[in-house]
């Protein structure tokens, strides 16, 4: 069976996250900031009894930042190395089936997108960029180091 993809909108762009990596989609309300942490770490939030590290995807992609002050944000919860992260996205759209293996994108993308890209996948709704969750979480800093 083909992989399932979660289609989300980040910075106005429709992209795909591997659905297997996403545990749930939540609505974040309270956000506890983490002073001195990397800028793309928007803060901490609690999902039931777990602490989520909230990642601002716009920041991570160097595309500005999400305004978190206006209350509820949608986020995709993923687990990486035993830690739980919530990726803030503009909108969670749908789950679709992957129709092709990821192929390299040969056109030039923005540097942020370039860094998190795992290639282009075909879906019923047309081609989508497959995003590497780990790279999204790592953000700019680790890449530069």
């Amino acid at each position: 069976m083909n992989e399932l993809l979660l289609v989300v909108t980040i910075a106005g762009e429709r992209v795909a996250l591997p659905a297997a990596a996403v545990e749930s989609v939540v609505e974040l309300d309270t956000l506890i900031p983490v002073p001195r942490a990397a800028p793309h770490v928007a803060g901490l939030s609690a999902l039931r009894s777990r602490v989520l590290t909230v990642i601002d995807c716009m920041r991570s992609l160097e595309l500005g930042h999400t305004n978190c002050s206006d209350g509820i944000r949608e986020a995709a919860v993923v687990e990486l190395d035993g830690h739980h992260y919530a990726l803030i996205v503009d909108l969670v759209e749908d789950v679709v089936e992957e129709l092709s293996a990821p192929a390299p994108v040969r056109a030039a993308m923005g540097t942020g997108w370039e860094r998190v890209s795992q290639g282009m996948v075909e879906t019923e709704g047309g081609p989508l960029l497959l995003v590497d969750v780990a790279a999204l979480i790592a953000g700019v800093e680790t890449k530069a180091a």
């Binding site: 983490v34 002073p35 942490a37 609690a46 009894s49 602490v51 992260y85």
Partner: protein, 781 residues
Amino acid sequence: MDDLIADFVAECREMLEALGGEIVAWEAEPHDRARLDSIFRFVHTVKGNCGFFDFPRLEALSHAAEDALADVRAGRRQADGALVSAVLAVIDRIGEMVAAIEAGEDFPGGDDSALIASLEPGVEAAAAPAVATTHDGSGRASSAPRTIRLSVELLDRVMSTVSDMVLARNELARRLRESASDVPVDGAFERLSSIIAEMRDAITRTRMQRIENLFVALPRMVRDLSTELGKQVLVDIEGGDVELDREMIEMIRDPLTHIIRNAVDHGIEKPADRLAAGKREIGVLAVSARQSGNQILIDIHDDGRGIDGQKLVDKAVANGVIGKDEAAQLSHRDQLALIFEAGLSTAAQVTAISGRGVGMDVVRSNIERIGGIVEVDSKLGEGTRMTLRVPLTLTIIPALTVSIAGQHFAIPRSAIEEIVRANGESVTLEHLGGAGIATIRGRRVPEVSLATILGLKSQVEANDRTLIVLRPAGGDVYALSVDRIHDHEELVVKPAAPAVMATGLYAGTTLADDGSPILLMDPAGIAEVGGVKLETQERTARIAESPTAAASRAAPVLLFRGLEGGRRALRLAVVDRIEEVPAAAVREAAGQLRVQLGEAILPLAGAAGVDLGTDKVRLFRLNDGTNEIGYAFAEVIDFAAIESDVIHAELPGEVSGVSLINGEPAELVDAHWLFASHVGAAVRAREELVCRMPLEDPWMQNMLRPIVEAAGYRVIGEGSEADADLIIATQGAELPKDGSSSTIWLRADPEAAGKKDESIYRYDRAGLLMALKSVAGRKGK
């Protein structure tokens, strides 16, 4: 059947683990019946189960061991070294076989008959194998608490459910508060709350394990190693009751084992070498665990030959690990730290135990992987100390919650030395070149503002903040200013995501009772980010201390509330420490109230005519250098200072006067009177003599005053209006005419200026005392 076998294997493993220490103890004390019994019980259990499961080899082994031990139990045979070794060998073989059963493999090859034969008594007539099994297995249950085996995942799931339950309870509490309250509902809710709290407590502890489980195998391991190497080693284990997360215990098992092997192999010398070096022939290996801040410290200390730092450096240079120039600049500590570099070992020859140079670097990387540190300290010829510091993540730690600009943070309570208000009397805040220095009761400590470190805008003025004096593990004190202090809480700390840990400021995250995440601060990290130099601190602090103390005319006092409710102050110098005793420790004996403090019984003041209740009583332990008395009080208010504007009491008594402290009147407790009336009945009642002296002179205040007070005078300053019986002044000073007083003149020069000079040299103690006495004698009549 498989389930039964799994149970059998599990039971065997548990017993084997517990047995490790017992066997060694038994060897040291072969007549110890209790140890013998527990070993016997083990082989007996194995034998019984084997018959059931059809493991003939296991059965033969355990049967033979049982027979031999039964003989010892019945007194037919003495436990000797040979027997102990043989029993050990059998138990090891049983362990191997149990492991094989567990793994579903065939038994390791080999013949057991040699092992069985070794159990036979050497020269004794072959005793009849008296299997008079009057011993049944009933004693088994008493040896260890009943246990079952659960997977950690299941525990995790239960724990997270319980946490959710707590959150749901909190939500319910909020709703209940909002709606009109109904007493029966509230009552039921209260009960539910306490049950949930209890359950949460219990379930959190299921993940915790006493570190004893790790330590219990050590004596056996050291025994085997030292026997093999022809050394004598005594193992001293402490702190087995420290609790650590189960997984953490597994993670430190190998590193700890390795360090101990190293200590026995390389550290501790052979008995002959030890004697030659002037040491006892038995080496001591001390292993201890304790909790310090947000870390667990495990110390492994041996009194062996130590590590030769220079040798390590030479080797490191030879192996190309470091350059020659670099090597010359290494401190002793850095030299020792080379032991953790890959490919270095000072052992002259490679042994089977350790010394292949592939050890310490692995130890370090394993410990670092779980966020810990290994430290080494060694004195050549005296021994080596290895310290493992492992984090407390996933363990419960008591913490203090504080807030900055409305956001809450937690600080591990164990790192907190004290908490003071920045605008308190005994605290001053200064800024030197942008760096904050807090002076707390004469001690200078670096001050950092948590708001500045975190880059948050604090709405609270610097002077209205609270200072938390922190002592990070292994570091020195500094003060952290925070906006507000909230609560003491027990927090379950979880590791934070790498992006959060990268700041170096946090030790982990945790959930508050209302379900919101809280960051747990790392005191050492704050100091580092805040630029506090921890190592050089203590020395400068000490230097700062003495001039401050000497320059201050104000006498430091402890402000407290007495049991009868009065606001009182007591000179700090006479307070030894604060104790808390059950009310039952206070009783009337030999005509006065006395309190029992450990071994000592002290007279108790401050509690006369007050009902102590049944609860705890807090008291100051006062010390005048030779005698001690207790002084009961209700609560400490603050540390403060009094200037000399004291309004003295008319009559001598418990209270010598009243003064304004922190803007409010407080009674000054007369420590001298307390001692006089509570210690020794021979103190005669007499009118107190008053001595006036220039108290702004530090020498008078600090050197002379105690002598004068000891002679029974009450000392007042020059500004005081009270009538003085005696005036002490420096020669040449101008005095107001006061015909009624005697005057003692003091001179700085040892030689008198002439025959008419009646002054006394300031260090002529005998002369001074004589003069004080003669004045007292005249007045006494």
